[in-house]
């Protein structure tokens, strides 16, 4: 069987769980799928998941699992896995999963394959495709030393709406004992750094800059291009890390997720952390000196060349009419 570990916070299901369920259904090849919901009050999330075509939804109700800590989640997942004996354990590749799944794998001494974008074959002999070298290469890997093999699915790689529904899975409560003394992290409430002054999610057009812009002195070039296109300026993570543009203009897994009508990636290579934040854009333009940059894989239009020549030429062209 396949065990999917759902992700919820404050009783709200993380949508990426549906993508993972879709991946599990593709991988199953006849194996039954069970979905576990970890947390303290998980009834409504469990009901939502029970609409999927899966065999069973397992819920926990343990105060030690709220709020999330890696130690408690690893303990709970380990108990579930040891009693259910799955062939695979699937999770969405979220920041939370990245925090506790390696701990779980280390404790079980079982393989963990992260950030999976595709599955070839199904059943016990499947292989998993995952990016390597910043997305320049795709590796096909096989877990060694399972079962179970723990697999995390890249956000956006599997389609949530492809998850088969129509099930009326039974919901079973699982009793877990987690010794609070084994939970070493004491989390405080999540917070946002600053109110977001710009809501890039509302922008129709975005011009985003990356490392290719080279220095802070060149940011005005991107701003000028944005103005000519009637677009907002945004950036990939390194630009905001350097303080060249404010953090609130960062696109990607640690920043905002956008899907504008037009997204112009200026000197952005397209690390996966950036792509997840913008690949839903309707039209994507990539301008980069490196013809092999992964950004071209998601682009509708690509220009390989020097952005310091091409951006001014586009501005000139737009100003003509």
């Amino acid at each position: 069987m396949i065990l999917v570990i759902a992700e919820q916070r404050d009783g709200k299901l993380n949508r990426a769980t549906w993508e993972t369920i879709a991946a599990a259904q593709q991988l199953a090849g006849g194996m039954p799928i069970k979905v576990a919901v970890l947390g303290a009050s998980t009834a409504s999330v469990a009901q939502e998941i029970a609409s999927a075509a899966v065999a069973e939804v397992l819920v926990t109700d343990s105060a030690a699992l709220e709020p999330y800590t890696p130690d408690a989640y690893a303990s709970a997942s380990r108990s579930l896995i040891e009693s259910a004996s799955p062939t695979y354990v699937l999770l969405p590749h979220t920041y939370q999963t990245r925090d506790f799944a390696p701990l779980l794998a280390a404790r079980l001494r079982k393989p963990l394959v992260t950030d999976v974008t595709a599955i070839s074959g199904n059943g016990a002999d499947a292989a998993f495709v995952r990016p390597m070298f910043q997305g320049k290469l795709a590796a096909q890997v096989k877990p060694v030393g399972g079962p179970p093999a723990i697999v995390t699915t890249q956000i956006g790689a599997f389609r949530a709406d492809a998850a088969q529904k129509g099930g009326s899975a039974s919901v079973s409560k699982i009793d877990l004992t987690i010794d609070p003394a084994t939970v070493r992290q004491k989390p405080e409430a999540p917070f946002r750094e600053a109110k977001q002054a710009v809501d890039l999610g509302q922008a129709e057009r975005i011009v985003a800059v990356g490392r290719g812009i080279k220095s802070q002195e060149n940011i005005p070039l991107a701003e000028k291009l944005a103005k000519a296109m009637d677009a907002e300026v945004a950036a990939s993570r390194p630009i905001c890390d350097n303080g060249w543009l404010p953090m609130e203009r960062q696109i990607g897994s640690s920043g905002q997720t956008v899907a504008p009508k037009l997204y112009v990636a200026l000197g952005i290579s397209g690390a996966i952390q950036h792509l997840v934040g913008m690949k839903g854009s309707r039209t994507i333009v990539a301008i980069n000196k490196d013809a092999e940059a992964p950004i071209f894989e998601v682009a509708d239009y690509g220009i390989v060349g020097d952005l310091f020549e091409i951006a001014p030429a586009i501005i000139t062209e737009l100003e003509k009419s």
Partner: protein
């Protein structure tokens, strides 16, 4: 306080991938290497913590002889000494093998704090730090953007998705995986480079019998999920054609 920083040597960002004959790994003879970027931030954070709390910073790396280059660079930036688990097979090793190799070499040092980058820019498993913490028997927290230490109490700012953060308290010793951008990197000075030549690099052997948890059965340039229209010509020609297509074809302008 005694701080360890684990660093990995990875291909440079400019490197164009070429595959070996069996298409299961890269052609290593073509590669130029650099320090994994998140690890550089972890090193910087360790140096800042040492400046504040005194103590020593020990750089730990598992890899072939070539990784000496990034170890020397870390020493030049200010780390006090280094531990190098040296073996040719470690260049392509997975997270389990690297973590076990580091754990064996680091165990007896009894570090107060271990820092790693959140993931490597080569294989990118994002697992080594957390597995290492478990093998050292210490708690971990990941994707960290601020580190505060008072006595034996540790408080860290963990990045969540979509611009959210969270403070987490934890006892020392502990392991943290550091997010890029936590600080501003320093570069080595000439004085630092000279001083690094005299600093100790302890060689450690790779323990026998470590098992990889996954096998790469194939490597390839990813297939395009989208039909990309590549626009050629001079800058002016390309700009003109792009603007035309954006207006007439995509109706995005």
């Amino acid at each position: 306080m005694k701080i360890a920083v684990c660093i990995k040597q990875v291909p440079t960002r400019e490197w164009q991938p070429r595959l070996n004959d069996s298409k299961t790994w890269i052609r290593e003879q073509d590669v130029s290497y650099e320090m994994n970027e998140p690890d550089a931030y972890a090193l910087e954070e360790a140096l800042r913590l040492r400046e504040k709390h005194s103590g020593e910073v020990v750089v730990c790396s598992a890899g072939p002889a070539r990784v000496q280059a990034v170890i020397r660079e870390a020493l030049a930036r200010g780390a006090d000494r280094a531990i190098h688990v040296e073996h040719d097979s470690l260049g392509a090793a997975d997270a389990f093998v690297v973590a076990e190799a580091l754990a064996a070499a680091m165990k007896d040092e009894k570090f107060d704090l271990v820092l790693t980058g959140l993931q490597s820019d080569d294989q990118g498993h994002g697992q080594t730090g957390v597995i290492l913490a478990e093998r050292l028997g210490i708690p971990s927290s990941t994707i960290i953007m601020d580190v505060q230490i008072e006595g034996s109490a540790l408080r860290v700012k963990r990045e969540l998705e979509g611009g959210w953060f969270q403070w987490i308290a934890m006892p020392l010793p502990a392991l943290l995986t550091i997010q890029s951008g936590i600080n501003q990197l320093r570069y080595a000075t000439l004085k630092g480079i000279m001083a690094a030549k005299k600093k100790e690099i302890r060689k450690a052997a790779l323990p026998d019998g470590l098992q990889a948890a996954q096998q790469i059965v194939g490597l390839a340039v990813p297939t395009r999920s989208k039909q990309t229209h590549m626009i050629d010509g001079s800058a002016a020609e390309a700009a003109k054609e792009l603007v035309r297509r954006l207006r007439e074809e995509a109706r995005a302008l």
